[in-house]
Symmetry: C2
Subunit: 502 residues, 2 copies
Amino acid sequence: MSDSKYQQLVAHLSEAHHLERAVAILQWDQQVKMPTGGAPQRAAQLAVLSRIAHEAFAQDKTARLLEDTEREIDGMDYDSDEASMVRVAKEEYRLASKLPAEFVAELTRATSLGRGAWIEARATNTFRTFEPQLQHIIDLTLQRAEYLGYDEHPYDALIDEYERGITTAQVTEIFGAHKPALVELIAAVQENSDTVDDSLVHQQFDIEKQKQFALDVIKAYGFDFERGRQDVSVHPFCTHFSRGDVRITTRFHDDFLNPALFGMMHEAGHGMYEQGSPERFEGTHLSGGTSLGVHESQSRLWENVVGRSKGFWIWALPKLQAYFPDELGSADVDSFYKAINKVGKSFIRVESDESTYNLHIMLRFELETDMVSGKVKVRDLPEEWNDRFESFFGITPPTDTLGVLQDIHWSMGLVGYFATYALGNLLSVQYYNKAVQQHPGIPDEIASGKFDTLRNWMQDNIYQHGRKFTSDELTRRVTGESIQSRDYMQYLQTKFGEIYGL
Amino acid sequence: MSDSKYQQLVAHLSEAHHLERAVAILQWDQQVKMPTGGAPQRAAQLAVLSRIAHEAFAQDKTARLLEDTEREIDGMDYDSDEASMVRVAKEEYRLASKLPAEFVAELTRATSLGRGAWIEARATNTFRTFEPQLQHIIDLTLQRAEYLGYDEHPYDALIDEYERGITTAQVTEIFGAHKPALVELIAAVQENSDTVDDSLVHQQFDIEKQKQFALDVIKAYGFDFERGRQDVSVHPFCTHFSRGDVRITTRFHDDFLNPALFGMMHEAGHGMYEQGSPERFEGTHLSGGTSLGVHESQSRLWENVVGRSKGFWIWALPKLQAYFPDELGSADVDSFYKAINKVGKSFIRVESDESTYNLHIMLRFELETDMVSGKVKVRDLPEEWNDRFESFFGITPPTDTLGVLQDIHWSMGLVGYFATYALGNLLSVQYYNKAVQQHPGIPDEIASGKFDTLRNWMQDNIYQHGRKFTSDELTRRVTGESIQSRDYMQYLQTKFGEIYGL
């Protein structure tokens, strides 16, 4: 018997999928293992491979197989693997077929070079050396929005790639409701800022011990090292080449405990989502996490909602003290919990606390939408950044390295991406609240180092669906409503109200 | 002005080249970094990517561009980049286009099954479980020879893939001249075998210190770590993704100094050849090393001719003693030099010393040619192996695992490959002698840790040509004659004559 159209479609799609994963392998290697001398040829290799991966998917044969399969499976349930595969692949095909192969190759080349220029500019605090590359990337990004198409705002086309179905107007509305309460909370916290001392986490901490402890934690969370690994890189990230090969990276500071520790928890949250993708989806468009926002909900859940909770440290502090008896031997849970949650006016997004984090995102969201609509020029970015930072936080970054140059994203052409971090924060608490509503014992379990009820809930409610549903579909299924900032704001108010005695 | 045909050809060829390098990256990662859970999907990724890399080269467009370019550059010098590019690419195209896609797929299937069967057979010492797979692989290998074509012997077609232009008759003649003298030398050495004690290198050696010392050595040789790296793997190898990204791997034993130390020198020899490939050849068929034999000449040069010389250890032993004062502090250069050069009757090729190594190769060469011409049947291989081993070495392997099952090559379809190891040994001394003839100070420089005269000579005479010339063309240019065993035999007789007091 000949293969069904659906089987043919899956076999066809898997080729493009394998090539995309090959691209991811070259990129991981580029950031984690490649000697500096490999850069120019790696850029060329990535350009060719990305183009071929794109062509393997965005070809007429894909459209034909999608149409044929759609007819073949007509009437199948919306939730079925078959209907979902066609639905998801069709939407991706719609977008992919709009980008000419040469354009994709050019963007890949530009971002490969852009990343190098950004690394140098950040290291030397010279925005001007990065500006031409960034200008080229932003020009290509505007071109990309035109290719993809949009109804209202060119930025809609960009953000839609990371959070399918969401619009600039919706994000603006969510942030509009979120921002005043956030600013109010931060102001109140600032008034009492002296009540929290975080010198505990600012000591010399042996990096090998930091690493061992963080590995202990993410193993307890459930990150599977037979299907994953952890390495060091300048900018921490998580990538996957299959559900059996999920990789996270970490950046260590020898005088500050938080970045590596909470960074490892964060990336492990991403990683467990990928490792939890169903085996039957392997090599297809349904494998992996559904959107960046939902992905970030998983990383922020394990980093913050769990990892920065007091309950977690009732279990974890004695273990950390065993690694650092001299530095932390006399610390009590309450002081340590406050120290890791100190609200600071950090210049750096990735080092900021939970309460100010979303404000960092809003700054980027506003700058991006203004760049895309032409209100802000690339050459004016450092000034615009600093002015707005001052108005948001009341302080001005002393250098561009601590300002506009801090994030890698734009150098990689990732415009429209930042907002998903804030959306992920909101979702992390929406999902957690639902899990606790169904399993009220979760907080107590966390305090005794048991994480399987929570992780299994994520497996059953989030991971197991792979990419079948959009972020909004999934969130409504799981929580009964769409994304909102109410739960997250309440969570922040309760937590920081208690810590700062508001 | 539109691109010349030559420019179009180079651009076209570079795509296939970049995809082949991407395959190499996935394979390096598979062997060096991949968690075990990644295996199934990595196999699928490699299958797709390899096929696409092959198709990118073996397509009609390549033939057309080659023909057009050939007309365009008619009359250009044989040595010119243009004429060489067309000559080399045309020959590779001729071979690549002769193998039907279904045949390549069948061979890939057979060897992936064969490899599994070999691993099991070797582990359980049961040749019979591997025999059906090996029979199938040998049948396909004969078929491969027919597809590729040959004038005299089907084995010509096989060896030509690894050492372009050489014939079975030539190798038979070279080995025929080499073997009697080798057997005589080994017999003489055996009579005096008690005079050399190698217990010095069989002690407990801290692996981290082994690594540091070996890295010191290859840095002194000239391996460039800004354009390369070193990792650990089960089977040591060298691979390259560009001249700016050359990677070597090492296997460490904590109770035996030789494998990691000389293994690192060996792979660094391969690596420096790749790092020395001219920048203007990057991404083209002219980049890298020209044949397996010439490649092996470079690895064996730095491993043996330099690394196992007495002069080298005059410089290196004090440095090694600084790492291992307890183990080697009282060793003198003479004893250490003898210990690392002890001749043993090893059953295992990869553990054999310089004097017996080529005899191991000759055994395989004779068996391979006899299999290909039908004189030896696959089912009789274990007996044939043991009988011939007895006649070569005077001892009989007690198990097939220590005999016919020891090497992975046949299970991977690599028939015709072994000979290049022995050819590399011969070439290493031919090239070294020529370098010393032109720069008589080289041996003294080695004894004082200076390697740049020798390395620069290799750069100017070998590396700089990339793949322009065949092994024979290159050897005649550089040394004035073809490959011969006279120099190597003389080198062995002098060296082991002195060590064993013959």
